[in-house]
């Protein structure tokens, strides 16, 4: 019998294996991407001194400071931009936020919004 793709009894198995391995690779790349984001977020949170008051997981070490772990991402973005714009004179966040680009603000907000404690 001449080989062709229509009479190959292993065709189904082969395509299933291909599909399975593709799915696994896709999932792994997703996990790797999430890990990278998490790692970058942690570095930024340390670099910009967020964790000094708000803790590594966003649980503040004093009740005068807000918990930001698990807070809504868009709220955190608006809050950082508010401080960067200097809207609240005398707030100690102003000097921190003035150093942040839009991109860094997005990343920090995403990082802490996904945290829980």
């Amino acid at each position: 019998m001449v080989y062709n793709k229509y009479n190959d009894r292993f065709a189904l198995i082969r395509s299933l294996v291909t599909l399975l391995s593709a799915s696994v690779m896709f999932l792994l790349s997703g996990v790797a991407q999430a890990d990278l984001e998490e790692e970058e977020g942690a570095e930024l949170a340390w670099k910009y001194h967020c964790i000094t008051c708000h803790g590594e997981d966003g649980l503040a070490d004093s009740t005068r400071y807000p918990n930001i772990g698990g807070q809504n991402q868009m709220y955190l973005v608006s809050r950082l931009k508010y401080f960067r714009d200097g809207k609240e004179a005398g707030n100690q966040m102003n000097a921190q936020a003035v150093l942040l680009s839009d991109e860094v603000i997005e990343k920090l907000a995403t990082y802490f919004s996904k945290k829980s404690y």
């Binding site: 009740t63 005068r64 807000p66 809207k87």
Partner: protein, 99 residues
């Protein structure tokens, strides 16, 4: 006699509930002042532009409400709402939502 004891226990339990009226008062005030419209009854923001309050320190919430009322913290919605709050209202609401 047994019935009398039960009546006393029931009365004490009732008294206990009566005294710990902080929960219902906070919940009622949160409705009256419009907090629930954006922050929900349980402190979960109804949209991601609004903060969750359930994860927040009571003291931080109290300080923020005071700052909104004095105008130190600027927000078009919250400044107006905070001016309707007394110190006592602020303490009750912070306790209701915060931890």
């Amino acid at each position: 006699m047994k019935g009398f004891k039960i009546a006393i226990v029931a009365a004490l339990v009732g008294l206990g509930f009566g005294c710990s009226s902080e929960k219902p008062e906070g919940a009622a005030l949160a409705v009256e002042k419009g907090c629930v419209a954006c922050h929900g009854q349980d402190g979960k923001g109804i949209a991601i532009i609004y903060p969750n309050l359930d994860l927040q320190w009571e003291e931080y919430l109290r300080l923020q409400l005071l700052a909104y009322r004095s105008g130190k913290r600027e927000n078009a919605i919250m400044n107006g709402i905070a001016t309707t709050l007394t110190d006592e209202d602020i303490a009750i609401l912070a306790s209701h939502y915060g931890k």
